[in-house]
Every structure is written in structure tokens, then in C-alpha cells.
């Protein structure tokens, strides 16, 4: 990194404008994608091909509650899902481009050599097995792990979604997920992980409300 960029990064806000913009777009897109996805799942709330449903899946035949769905019926859910998908992916690409172009990735992404040990220590601290939190930079190790994992989950959701959408035209992709029904499993598991991420995220920002403000105003210059 050049001195000028170093200097620039020094006076950057906690949450620079591009990050705030994609964050709130993403919040909207994830709600719409999850809701329309659950509407699609409602049409056939099973995993596994006909005549050979997966025995390990505990929710066979359990449709999601209708208040969680977007689109009203299967065709409506599909229209929402395939419309917002483009914006979700575009938004993700803008985020990744900014992350790397700005150098923000240094303080946000999980680099195992740097962050693995502090992440474990942070976990032990949260689990009350350790008295004091480990020293942390802009984000602690666990935050970096979460914010990096969710990017990988987003990529997996995009690819598994394409594999379900076009199992013949994008057959190589579908095979990557173990076939059409395998791709559905990955796509639903990804939704469960995103839901877990969002739930944890909401609890943590509720405990640290100043962070919500920083995601709106940008927060203080570092």
C-alpha cells in the first residue's frame, strides 16, 4: 500500500459510504430473496427426488409459514426470486470490488494466520471460559470469520441457485453440487446459515446499538 492510500485509509470512516450503501441494499435483497425462496419451497417442501426422499431431512412436508413468504403463489415467488437475484449478485460484486480496490479487506476479512487464534480466544471469552477479550483491531477474529464466511455462503447460494434454475444448460454446475436434488439441499442449507448469521447479527447489534448508527452515518473517522 502506498503512503497516500495509507493516509487515505487512516481518515476513512468506520463504515465508508459504499459499504453502507451495499449493506442496506443487501438487507432488503436478502429479505426478498429469502421470502420468495420460501414461497417456492412451499410448492414442494421436501428434499430428495420423488420416490427417494432424503431420510435425514427432519422437515419433510413442513411448509414454511405463509407470513415468511413473498410473492403470494409459486409463479409470483419465482418472479420475485429471479428478478431480485440479479440485483443481489450485482450488489455482491460491487461490494467485493470496493473491498479489494479500497484495501478495506485488510481490516475486514478473515486471514487465518492473523485471525484464527484471536477468533478462538474471542469465542472462549464469549463462552465465559476466558476472563478478558483478546486484543482486537477494527473487527475481532470472530467478526472477521463471520463476515468472510457470509461472502462464501453468498457465492455458494448464487451457484447452487443457478444449478437448480438451469440443471441442463448449466449441467456442469449442477453436477458440482451432486445433481439437482443435491443443489436444492445446498441452497436450503445456505438459507439456514444466512438466517443464523442474520439472527446473530441482529442480537449483537442490539447489544451494541452504536454500530447501527455507524452503518447509517458512517461513524467516526479512524
Amino acid at each position: 500500500m502506498s503512503d497516500a492510500r495509507d493516509q487515505q485509509a487512516k481518515f476513512r470512516r468506520q463504515q465508508p459510504l459504499p459499504i453502507r450503501f451495499v449493506h442496506w441494499c443487501n438487507a432488503l435483497f436478502i429479505v426478498l430473496m429469502a421470502g420468495s425462496g420460501l414461497q417456492i419451497l412451499t410448492a414442494y417442501p421436501y428434499l430428495g427426488p420423488r420416490g427417494a426422499l432424503y431420510r435425514w431431512y427432519p422437515l419433510q412436508g413442513v411448509a414454511p409459514p405463509s407470513w415468511l413468504t413473498v410473492g403470494g403463489w409459486l409463479a409470483g415467488g419465482r418472479h420475485w426470486h429471479f428478478a431480485i437475484a440479479w440485483f443481489f449478485v450485482l450488489n455482491g460484486l460491487v461490494y467485493l470490488a470496493y473491498l479489494f480496490a479500497s484495501g478495506e479487506w485488510r481490516r475486514r476479512t478473515f486471514i487465518p494466520a492473523r485471525d484464527a487464534a484471536p477468533a478462538v480466544a474471542q469465542f472462549l471469552y464469549y463462552a465465559r471460559l476466558r476472563k478478558s477479550p483478546p486484543p482486537a483491531g477494527f473487527y475481532n477474529g470472530l467478526q472477521r470469520l463471520a463476515y468472510s464466511s457470509i461472502i462464501i455462503i453468498g457465492v455458494a447460494m448464487t451457484l447452487s441457485g443457478l444449478a437448480i434454475y438451469k440443471p441442463v444448460q448449466l449441467h456442469f454446475l449442477t453436477m458440482l453440487f451432486g445433481g439437482y436434488d443435491g443443489a436444492r439441499v445446498v441452497h436450503l442449507a445456505g438459507l439456514a446459515l444466512i438466517a443464523l448469521f442474520v439472527a446473530t447479527h441482529l442480537v449483537l447489534v442490539a447489544l451494541h446499538p452504536r454500530e447501527i448508527l455507524a452503518m447509517i452515518t458512517g461513524g467516526k473517522r479512524e
Binding site: 410448492a43 420423488r50 420416490g51 419465482r78 418472479h79 420475485w80 441442463v168
Partner: protein
Amino acid sequence: MNSRISRRRFVAGAAAASFLAGCDSYPVKTFLLAMKDWNAGCEAALFSPARTAPELPESATTPEAAFPEYFISDDAPDVPPNWFLTVGGLVERPGRFTLAELRAMTQTSMRVRHHCVEGWSAVASWQGVRVSEIARAAGLKPGVRHVEFRSFDSGYWSSWDLPSATHPQTLLAWGMNGHPLTTGHGAPLRVYSAVKLGYKMCKYLTEVNFLAENTGGYWENQGYDWFGGV
């Protein structure tokens, strides 16, 4: 306190109502329809006439009782007496085909995965004549861009893009898993294709028309995607 709660409730209710109304509003509908058209274009662009679905081994076959039947009539419609298939539209040689005549043409058998718009998949083998064979026999006139399939299942129909209809894995099938179609699976003749969702595969066929225009379809006219490719 009471009035505060009711006011808060009122505000929340009004917000929810306006959001729900928003989902049906003109700009949202316009946006969704524009994206639907855009996606149909992307689907057509992604479709390759040369790309085929993998043929599966016999061991992959779904038990036939577990393969869903589909018709829109109250009961599976019975084959009308003296059934024949009418081939028409912009063709040099419009005509009628009996089942025996269709079975005397070049036959194709394939075992592929079926993809339903609902999200389920199943496997069967299908025996019949390629739509491309029918097109060759009838001789397409210039300007044909769509193929319309019509049925005796309460008027169910579906129209397709010509490239998908003449794909080597799109058949007029009389057989499933080596035996003639059962009443529940579209006897005596149905469309079967590896490159479309199930609702595009018109069963209980009566007509195949090669047309210039897109004539929609039973589900397509109610809002389902017209291209419906996989």
C-alpha cells in the same frame, strides 16, 4: 396507555397494509414484468440446441407409482374414439397421424431427469418420435418461430420456441418406461422433453401447430414463465 397502543397498532397496521399494497402496485408489477421479460431473453440466449441432458442408467428410474400424474380435468381424460394427431400451421404438408403411423416413424428412447416447476425431480424413460421428425415430415414454411401443442385435457395447451421444440430430446411420446402411456400420464400421446419444465409438456395431445406467433399457454397465461427451460 390504551390509546397509545391502539395508535401504535394503527400505524403498524397502516405500514403493513401499504407494504402489501405496494407489492401489487403499478411500479412493482411493471418492474417484475420487465424482469420476467429480461429473464426470458436470458433463458433463450443460454439455451443451446446442441446441449443435451445426460441419459441416465436404468437403476436411476423412479418407481412409477411415485412419478406424479398431471392433468387439469377432474379425472384423467380418456382417449377419444378414433383419436388422431393433427399437424398444422405454416407447413407444406398439413395432415393427420394415427398412433400406428407415428410409431412407424423413426423412434427415439431416452431416460432423463424430469424437473417440475414445483421443485421435484423424477426419472423415467420415454419412447416416441422427435418433434423435429414431425417438422421434417410436415415441411416448415419460412417464418415458423413457435410450436403450439394442444390437448383434449380441458383445453390445456402450451406454445414453445422452435429451437426447444426441435431439440433432439423433445419427443411426442407414446411410451413411458417401455410401455404405452397410462391414462394418468397423458395417453395416448404427450410431449416429453429434457429441456423444459413439466408444465410445458402438454399431455393428451390433439394438435401440433407450427406458427409464427407465440400463443401463450394454460399456465403461461396465468403468470408462469413462458420459456420455462431447464
